[in-house]
């Protein structure tokens, strides 16, 4: 084995020896050790590497401030309180499209013509929806033509829902990745608290 081959393998070899994973059983290691016995320059390099390796295992660390845990917890608590407040006061570009979406969805549902209602599954639901739909259609009758029934309002509701959904998507896409992560973690946080509360209550 030549010096350049030895130098290429020496670092890892010394690291293994110092950390107790001695590879002395392999043929390559025996060749390397044989070279070290004969070559003073490589032996000196091995000694330097051994010194570094041993020193690195006692790699010094810095002592963190004594009150670091307390200051982390103060920040976590402040964050928790702000998150709770902000959950009730979401920015307008989130809650406006969200409310519009929900309202539009309600309009769309109650505007479905009564004759389509029996197609909706669920005990009692079809009757209730048909009743709301009849009331809404009766209330809206003056504004509708004689032939269209609730269809006009269903289409309008669907358009509104789509627009609101688009607005919501745009509002979210305008957020930075951190803001989206933030919203996501708040939603997860609230969901997990609700789940935990429900589980405990159960």
């Amino acid at each position: 084995m030549q010096c350049d081959e030895v130098r290429a393998r020496l670092t890892e070899y010394i690291a293994d020896v110092v950390s107790g994973r001695s590879p002395s059983a392999s043929r390559e290691a025996r060749a390397l050790e044989g070279h070290l016995e004969r070559c003073a320059a490589c032996r000196a390099e091995a000694e330097r590497l051994r010194w570094v390796e041993e020193a690195l295992w006692s790699y010094p660390g810095v002592t963190p401030p004594a009150d670091l845990t307390a200051s982390v917890m103060r920040r976590v608590e402040a964050e928790r309180l702000i998150a709770q407040e902000e959950w009730h006061l979401l920015p307008w570009d989130v809650w406006v499209p969200a409310v519009a979406f929900v309202l539009a969805l309600l309009v769309a549902v109650v505007s479905i013509p009564p004759d389509l209602m029996p197609a909706i599954p669920g005990p009692g639901l079809d009757g209730a929806l048909a009743s709301w739909s009849e009331q809404v259609n009766a209330w809206l009758a003056p504004a509708q033509g004689p032939a269209q029934g609730g269809l006009v309002w269903a289409v309008l509701g669907a358009i509104l829902a789509t627009t609101a959904g688009l607005g919501l998507s745009l509002a979210i896409s305008a957020c930075t990745a951190d803001q989206v992560n933030d919203i996501e973690s708040r939603v997860s946080d609230v969901a997990s608290r609700l789940w935990d509360t429900a589980r405990r209550a159960h």
Binding site: R21, R48, L49, L56, W57, Y59, M73, R75, D189, S192
Partner: protein, 207 residues
């Protein structure tokens, strides 16, 4: 002092002082919003996170601020932590990313941020004063040499020797191939040997 054997998979951050199972149990409690459990997790793991941040930022205030940010992110993300990765690995991944992001933001004014007061803050070994003095001197030389390495080498040195992560865990934390990690470690060792040897020769010449 070199260890006789490498810390096996499951090694916890230096200074953690808790076994893996109890950390897992604490993390599970944290996921349900238990703040006391989270406080214990912070107390048991913050030394490693702080040191990692310091090795990248070299400034106490910045390292403290990044450490706080790391735990805020951990607190926010804990409900979605599914335990696919070991908690310590996940924690260090966040710490490395946050520290490197901060360093990038500060790049323009890193010269102002550099802090050489660290040599007074190195953890002091609680042993015989004569041995302690020798070790302290060695640690100072080593620290100064490590600080002159490129930041990516500093991070691998810190994770491997200080936090005692295994190669597999380092692959997870740094998201780079095992071969690259080993190559970076070897280059860092050779560079340190060269720097420290040159320093010793310089001292010899001066004497």
């Amino acid at each position: 002092m070199a260890p006789t054997a490498r810390v096996a998979t499951g090694a916890l951050p230096a200074g953690a002082g808790i076994v893996g199972d109890s950390l897992d149990a604490l993390v599970e409690r944290c996921r349900c919003g238990d703040k006391d459990a989270f406080e214990r997790v912070v107390a048991d793991t913050h030394t490693g996170v702080y040191n990692l941040a310091y090795s990248v930022l070299r400034n106490h205030e910045e390292a403290e601020d990044v450490t706080q940010e790391v735990y805020l992110r951990v607190w926010r993300s804990l409900p979605s932590f599914r335990g696919d990765a070991r908690f310590a690995t996940w924690l260090y991944r966040i710490a490395v990313n946050s520290s490197l992001n901060r360093r990038r933001k500060l790049r323009g004014r890193m010269a102002e941020v550099e802090d050489d007061g660290v040599l007074d803050c190195l953890e002091s070994p609680a042993i015989d004063p004569a041995v302690a003095a020798v070790e302290q001197e060695r640690n100072r030389a080593l620290w100064a040499a490590v600080m002159r390495l490129p930041e990516k080498y500093q991070v691998v040195i810190n994770l491997f020797y200080r936090q005692q992560l295994t190669y597999d865990e380092m692959v997870e934390v740094l998201a780079i191939p095992l071969g690259t990690i080993k190559a970076q470690l070897n280059r860092a060792r050779r560079a340190l040997a060269g720097t420290l040897h040159a320093g010793q020769e310089g001292q010899g010449d001066a004497v």
